[in-house]
């Protein structure tokens, strides 16, 4: 099958490659670009481990072809840290609030939460849970993931984070 030339901006850098039309974006990003932060979990659009941000949308890229991303601007977990290399508010929140155990879902969780906070910088707990409903975590029970996002929300808004009473 003839290969197609694609170009896209990934974490601020122009990249290009030759792909078969059937090449899934997750494979292009992990194998061609060697950005292995986005994970392959269920491969059936359920788990959200492969989530990246494409043109302002959270997308499960096990269910998108690389050719469909031609010309897009993509942010993966590798592009989430602050420009000076320090942890972003979300990354810090996941660390401080123990928002991960095995860590497999974390790249997808953080990239998804990044878009959620862009759209709604002060989500309620219910809005957070609804907003991350496309990302599965089998370790934490979500409690600390929600806290991590609340921590990031507070930090972004310049207010002190206070955990809700148990």
């Amino acid at each position: 099958m003839a290969k197609t030339h694609v170009t896209m901006t990934v974490n601020g850098a122009e990249v290009e490659g030759l792909v078969e039309p059937r090449t899934l974006l997750i494979h292009f990003i992990r194998e061609n670009l060697q950005l292995t932060g986005a994970h392959i979990g269920c491969e059936t659009t359920h788990c959200g481990a492969c989530t990246v941000d494409i043109d302002g949308m959270s997308v499960k890229i096990c269910t998108m072809f690389a050719v469909q991303a031609n010309g897009s601007a993509i942010t993966t977990i590798e592009g989430i840290a602050n420009a000076d290399g320090t942890l972003s508010a979300l990354q810090e929140g996941f660390r401080q609030m123990h928002g991960l155990q095995c860590g497999f879902c974390t790249p997808g969780m953080i990239v998804r939460a990044h878009r959620l906070l862009q759209e709604n910088p002060s989500p309620t707990e219910e809005e957070i849970r609804f907003g991350i409903a496309g990302n599965l975590c089998r370790c934490t029970g979500y409690q600390n993931i929600v806290k991590a996002i609340q921590y990031a929300s507070a930090k972004i808004n310049g207010v002190e984070f206070r955990e809700a009473a148990e």
Binding site: P21, R22, L24, E43, T44, T63, V67, L116, G134
Partner: protein, 287 residues
């Protein structure tokens, strides 16, 4: 899970897409959001030789008002429906339903056109479109035609769409102001297809139901309009006996599959409950 090989096309006009669909025949499939088709291709249950991506066709996007109706481009995503002030104002039931489809990531990609056109009985929008009296604009090599949603579905994955035709827009006539609405969906977990779901649109006058339309999701090979059930509530105040009667009349036309979502009896039982809940909630919202 690597799909079979295919040729990729991204035409920039509807005419070009229709020409490709017509010339390539059965081996070509249109690609919308891809969240039904790509999973099937990964399982090799679908192996099209050509994919015609509709993302390059700008005219398939967008929501616009035309006289007494709302016209929604087939490639409008669920996320765009949720973000649309026109949709929120005119059809809050569309928003309520879109929020119950899959999860945020899928809603960014999944389109209204894809949801209604592929004929999956589990999809939520088809029964809603029937309830709203919507019609589908189909464009083919011989021109365009409009088909009522209630005439479109023939069986699971079988529709009135002819070879070479493309769904380009969904047209929904504006509902009466002050209407009540509800979409009740029972599902096993977030993101699941309905075990049973019911859409209700109604108007009330002096505490009595003046007009009513009821649609059913995933309770047969096709979405259903429960007309006898809707007739049963006209002129009533939706007392318990009437609700029970409407539920029974709706159950008479249900023929759900027995699958992981439960045996036939269970799905009909909860289908009846969805009808009653949707009627009650819609009535409470009616002005």
């Amino acid at each position: 899970m690597i799909p079979g090989a295919f040729n990729y096309h991204c035409p920039s006009t509807v005419a070009d897409a229709v020409a490709l669909l017509s010339s390539l025949g059965d081996e070509a499939r249109p690609l919308g959001g891809g969240h039904s088709l790509i999973p099937m291709m990964k399982l090799r249950l679908a192996t099209p030789e050509h994919l015609i991506d509709l993302h390059c066709i700008a005219s398939l996007k967008g929501i616009r008002q035309e006289a007494d109706r709302l016209v929604i481009g087939a490639m409008t995503t669920q996320h765009e429906l949720l973000a649309s002030p026109e949709v929120s104002a005119a059809f809050p039931i569309l928003k309520e339903t879109a929020l119950l489809i899959a999860d945020p990531q899928v809603r960014y990609r999944g389109t209204l056109g894809g949801n209604v056109v592929n004929g999956d009985p589990g999809n939520d929008m088809p029964a809603l479109m029937m309830t709203l009296g919507a019609s589908y604009r189909l464009e083919g090599p011989d021109g365009a035609r409009d088909v009522a949603a209630s005439d479109f579905y023939q069986g699971a994955y079988f529709t009135a769409l002819e070879p070479g035709e493309l769904l380009t827009a969904i047209t929904i006539p504006f509902a009466a102001s002050g209407h009540g609405y509800a979409y009740e969906k029972l599902k096993r977990k977030v993101g699941d297809y309905a075990t049973a779901a019911a859409a209700v649109m109604l108007t009330m006058a002096n505490g009595k139901v003046e007009s009513c339309s009821i649609g059913l999701t995933n309770l047969s090979d096709t979405p259903l309009l429960a007309e006898a059930a809707a007739d049963a509530v006209i002129g009533t105040g939706l007392d318990d006996d009437t609700l029970k009667k409407a539920s029974e009349r709706a159950q008479e036309i249900m023929s759900p599959a027995a699958d992981a979502r439960g045996p036939v009896e269970y799905r009909k039982h909860v289908g009846g409950i969805m009808v009653m809940r949707a009627l009650k909630r819609a009535a409470a919202r009616a002005a």
